[in-house]
Amino acid sequence: MHRFIPPRIAQKIMTGVFWASGIITLAILLVIIGYVLFKGMPVVNLEFLLGNPVDSGRSGGIFPFIMSSIYVTLIAVLVATPLGVGAAVYLSEYAGENTLVKLIRFGSETLASIPSIIFGLFGLAFFVIYLEIGWSVLSGGLTLALMALPTILSASEVSIESINKSYAEGSLALGATKWQTIYKVVIPASLPGITTGVILGMGRAIAEAAAVLYTVGAALMIPTSLMDAARPLPLHLYILATEGLSMENAWGTATVLVIMILIITVVTNTLVDNYRKKMMGR
């Protein structure tokens, strides 16, 4: 083929293209977060954070909704993490490459791509109505657990698969059983990857409105038990915006949600980094 562009110029152009792609991605992120903060920060103060809503959220604070978000997310993570990590251990350490394994992996991938509103519908049919749990923190949390599960599973599996097989060999050669090898060597070594998966799953759960729409109710009070109805932040935001109650408070709620997610991400990244440094000695 005839060269139209000299390689050195092509190199320069492509470097520019890749640089621009990176910068544009960063810019999009900054613009969105910046816009949310710009619109929302004026509303956010201590009273907004710690107060109760007044007049269906037209004014007052969002404390019950912050607590609702924390509760449902916590339930989701507590339920989905052992299941996801357990399944990942099974897939990568116990199961060979058989039909069941392929089915589990296919199932998990499919689960990850199902729209969240469908999780919401399922949660309504199964947890709220069939299991008679009702509109509650528990129903919402369990529905979110289903959504977070595939994320946690696949990240954990990748992480476990990627750790050096020689660690497990060394452990077995010392007379450790398979189970000892898994929980004393394999899981600690893959903990940074597993944690990242849990955080991704948690991020999915805490940011979710559709999946809790039909499962958690829409209470304005702080839930005091698992069976109480609640209203996580994204749902509150949705209600404020769609019912035209208060756009200012909707932006304020969005701001709080974004900041919560940022804090969770930064804190866990720091913890994971420190753990990895300690483990790998650098």
Partner: protein, 251 residues
């Protein structure tokens, strides 16, 4: 002579591949035995048969007998966990756990139910001293083992192995990833350990075999061509193929 391990008519297959063919070898107690031979001749497979690490490979099949102190290690009553405690292994590439130096050495002890802090500390110190590593790591026991040099990591792996007080230590080319100074340290260590342990070392380094071992077995295409005293094999080998190999004519 007393033998620790007696292998009789051992055949090993992976799927249809016949890796070890009718191998018989006696390993003398508290001495070093070298296994030499070109790559792919079955040396590593052979030592992995001795601590049943090959069991991890689903296509592994074997027949023949492997006796440790007179007992068949492939008897269905044998607990593989106990066996591997008695027959330790040091791998080609140093493979310390991504844990602290202390926890690496304490690992095997903890796995076998020792949790007393004083006992652990004492055993860790003894093992690191036996592995000639104590002076270098005495003050950094809580640091990650991954920060050590390759040679230090390999001595740590030896310390980890001797901490559980095995009878036999299998070493699969333990110096192949190390520089000459680290190699010398490991060889000195092997000299020191041979009084207390039966050591089997796979090596591609002929000088190393003559330096560290009293006995040598020469493997070729899955068979043992010749075995006996190292001095005899290297000075007046009986088989032409042994002579060709040790003089570097092939392999």
């Amino acid at each position: 002579m007393e033998y620790r391990i007696e292998v009789e008519n051992l055949n090993v297959y992976f799927d249809e591949l016949h890796i070890l063919k009718d191998v018989s070898l006696k390993i003398p107690k508290n001495a070093v035995t070298s296994l030499i031979g070109p790559s792919g001749c079955g040396k590593s497979t052979f030592i992995r048969t001795l601590n049943r690490m090959n069991d991890l490979i689903s296509t592994f099949k074997m027949d023949g007998t492997v006796l440790l102190d007179g007992g068949d290690i492939y008897n269905h009553k044998v607990d593989v966990v106990d066996l591997r405690k008695k027959v330790g292994m040091v791998f080609q590439k140093p493979n310390p756990f991504p844990k602290s130096i202390f926890d690496n050495v304490a690992y095997g002890l903890r796995v076998h139910g020792i949790n007393d802090k004083d006992i652990l500390a004492q055993k860790v110190e003894e093992s690191l001293k036996s592995a000639a590593l104590w002076d270098e790591v005495e003050n950094i026991l809580e640091k990650s083992a991954m920060g050590l040099s390759g040679g230090q990591q390999q001595r740590l792996c030896i310390a980890r192995t001797i901490a559980v007080e095995p009878e036999v230590i299998l070493m699969d080319e333990p110096c192949s990833a190390l520089d000459p100074i680290s190699t010398t340290k490991i060889e000195d260590l092997i000299h020191k350990l041979k009084n207390d342990f039966t050591i089997i070392i796979v090596t591609h380094n002929m000088q190393q075999a003559t330096r560290v071992s009293k006995h040598t077995a020469f493997f070729l295409h899955g068979e043992i061509v010749e075995s006996g005293l190292t001095d005899k094999i290297f000075i007046e080998p009986e088989d032409k193929r042994t002579e060709d190999y040790i003089t570097g004519r092939f392999g």
